[in-house]
């Protein structure tokens, strides 16, 4: 143990250390703030309604959601990204040089703020409104790092986010082109569906069978994909029964009671889809109209494998087209999903090879 004299000495050293460190810290911040003032910052309003000042030329970006990473890359900013979140590393649609950048954490489990500081970003792009986003945004703001907060709740959020990121990158032209590509097709889909009479709208069930255990069915009701089923000319049985729930879990008995005309099974990879289809081939499912008539479809979602379109970001429009053709094959007969995919990938992803299968 330290004696009295030692303790006093120790205290003195400690106080000195704190003083030195805080001086360094303060001057560091002071330099930062004078720098950003000198650069004549751009002001923009992000999707959270916050007014953010960012440097007029953004060269170092840390991005904390894989879909925003994907959009940044389509807008030609792959070289400006210096840090990513964990989910960006497993996306098939993000160039490998970006996937191999420093991972700073993710928004559900938290990020390492020190790692972010070490990357000295000009701006951080991230979601707001759930998990640890609130704390992360205020921590970054406290350190003087500008945050552009975005959100994904539906299709129109995607194009809004694309245009906002266009402003951040001074790439408003290509952002406008990409958003336009998506918007025009989206409004075509919706206006077509608006013509479909109620009598021709099939009962649709969108579900996943591998989330709980085999016999409990995870359905999409008042969620993005769930409401899409209605917008594209179907009757979403789960949404009609559970208008207040996003993903109600129901038993087989409920599905038998619904007896849907069309069943759409979602999965993150082909193995998941195959095992789910295996479940559907058992006896209870065989009594459903959709199964008897061969109207059970699968859609790859997320970004893990080639051919997965239904996801946040620009590919969402392709996923909507896939859904539309499954729900209303006749009304959307002329819709060419692979042609549109080819166009999207060659024009905005700088390669046709990404489209995959």
């Amino acid at each position: 143990m330290l004696d009295d004299k030692g303790l006093t000495k120790f205290r003195a050293v400690l106080i000195l250390a704190v003083l030195v460190l805080s001086t360094i810290g303060a001057s560091f911040l002071a330099i930062r703030s004078t720098q950003s003032v000198a650069l004549n910052p751009t002001t923009l309003v992000d999707m959270a309604g916050r007014t953010v000042q960012i440097p007029s030329s953004v060269d170092r970006i840390v991005v904390l959601n894989s879909y925003w990473t994907e959009i940044l890359c389509t807008l030609g900013a792959a070289d400006k990204i210096v840090g990513i979140d964990k989910y960006s590393t497993s996306s098939h649609y993000i160039p490998s040089k970006v996937r191999n950048l420093t991972v700073v954490g993710d928004l559900f489990k938290g990020i390492n703020i020190e790692t972010v500081i070490a990357l000295s970003p000009d701006v951080v792009i991230m979601d707001y409104g759930y998990g640890k986003t609130g704390e992360i945004i205020s921590a970054l703001e406290g350190l003087g790092i500008p945050v552009v907060a975005l959100v994904s709740r539906n299709f129109s959020d995607q194009t809004t986010a694309i245009r906002t990121l266009g402003k951040v990158l001074n790439a408003e032209k290509s952002a406008g082109d990409l958003a336009g590509f998506m918007d025009s097709r989206h409004s075509f889909l919706l206006s077509t569906a608006a013509w479909i009479p109620a009598s021709e709208r099939p009962k649709v069930l969108i579900c996943k069978l591998d989330v709980w255990q085999e016999r409990l069915i995870y359905t999409y009701a008042n969620s993005t994909y769930g409401t899409l089923a209605e917008d594209l000319g179907g009757i979403n049985v789960a949404l009609r029964d559970f208008p207040d729930q996003s993903w109600p879990k129901v038993s087989m008995e409920k599905v038998l009671a619904w007896n849907p005309d069309v069943i759409i099974v979602l999965g993150y990879d082909n193995a998941s889809l195959a095992s789910q289809l295996d479940t559907v081939s058992n006896s209870s499912w065989n009594q459903l109209k959709a199964v008897k008539e061969g109207k059970v479809y699968t859609i790859l979602i997320g970004s893990k494998v080639a051919g997965a379109y239904l996801d946040w970001g620009p590919r969402m429009i392709l996923g909507e087209m896939q859904l539309a053709k499954m729900i209303q094959p006749e009304y959307y007969a002329n819709l060419d999903v692979s042609g549109a995919a080819q166009m999207l990938f060659t024009q905005f992803y700088n390669t046709g090879a990404l489209s995959g299968s």
Partner: protein
Amino acid sequence: MGSGVKWKSALLLLLPIPALLGSLFIGAYPLPPEITLQVIMAKIASPFAQSPWPQVYETVLFEIRLPRIILALIGGVALSVSGASLQGVFRNPLVDSYILGVSAGAGLGAAIAIAFLPSIPGVTQVLAFSFGFLAFLVTYFVARERGETPVVSLVLAGIIVTALFSAALSMIKFFTEAERLAGVVYWLMGSLAIAGWREVAQTLPAIGVAFLIIFFMRWRLNVLSMGDEEAKSLGVNIERDRLIVLFATTLMASSFVSVAGIIGWVGLVVPHIIRMLIGTPDNRVVIPLSASVGAVFLILADDLARSVTTFELPVGVLTTVIGAPFFLYLLKRRGGGTWK
């Protein structure tokens, strides 16, 4: 035993039959009760005959509702009999089926399967069962000292093993991606929605054998619950008997947990209700009645889980919501009851 107790016992032993039949009428599919009755009668009269009703009626009643009710019955027996037996062995009314670490072990096994292994039917069950049993073995051998396993050591070892397995489970949860994490969390809540004939076939043999073991040892449970010194003085091999009881209860609890997840409070509440109703802690009565009332309790709780809302509620959450306040009521009213 007075004749009042006999009547009560007979009544309680028959209770699962109306519970089972009545529950066939409950569910999300709109089947009119009179049709349900007709279908059931016809099935009882000639089980293999072609029915005049749409195939879907039979599917709903005999492929979805019936196996689920039977699984609830089996699970109710497993949880309450293991709870009652362990309360005897530990001479402590606050012990339940999970005191030896079975739930934490099974939870870890299931989490490993859901998080890291491909979704092949049965993998989760096998791992949950093995880890549940493993947790028990670790507890037992940690507690064992010079050929003896004192009750206090078992309790402490159980707490330590539960803590370790839970920590490992948290670690796995943290490293699991969101989609699969949801699967782990749902599993831990406990649900009978997975019930099919396959699950009944998986659990019935082990739970049946374990139940018979406990049933034929129920008077020895009385001896064990007297305490080690007294039991020894009666010439009972307490180490051997205790191990047999612990083994059988673990077999029951982990078999059921492996298919249904962790369903709490059944093993705690049911034996208490029995002791309160019958007025004796005599295991010769408490064990068979716990089996019957436990079955009814879980069948009714699952009826609620299936019918309160048209979507599924996890029955494990319901048994806790019903069980915990009821237990509090019992404690307040009885001031400790027959255990004091």
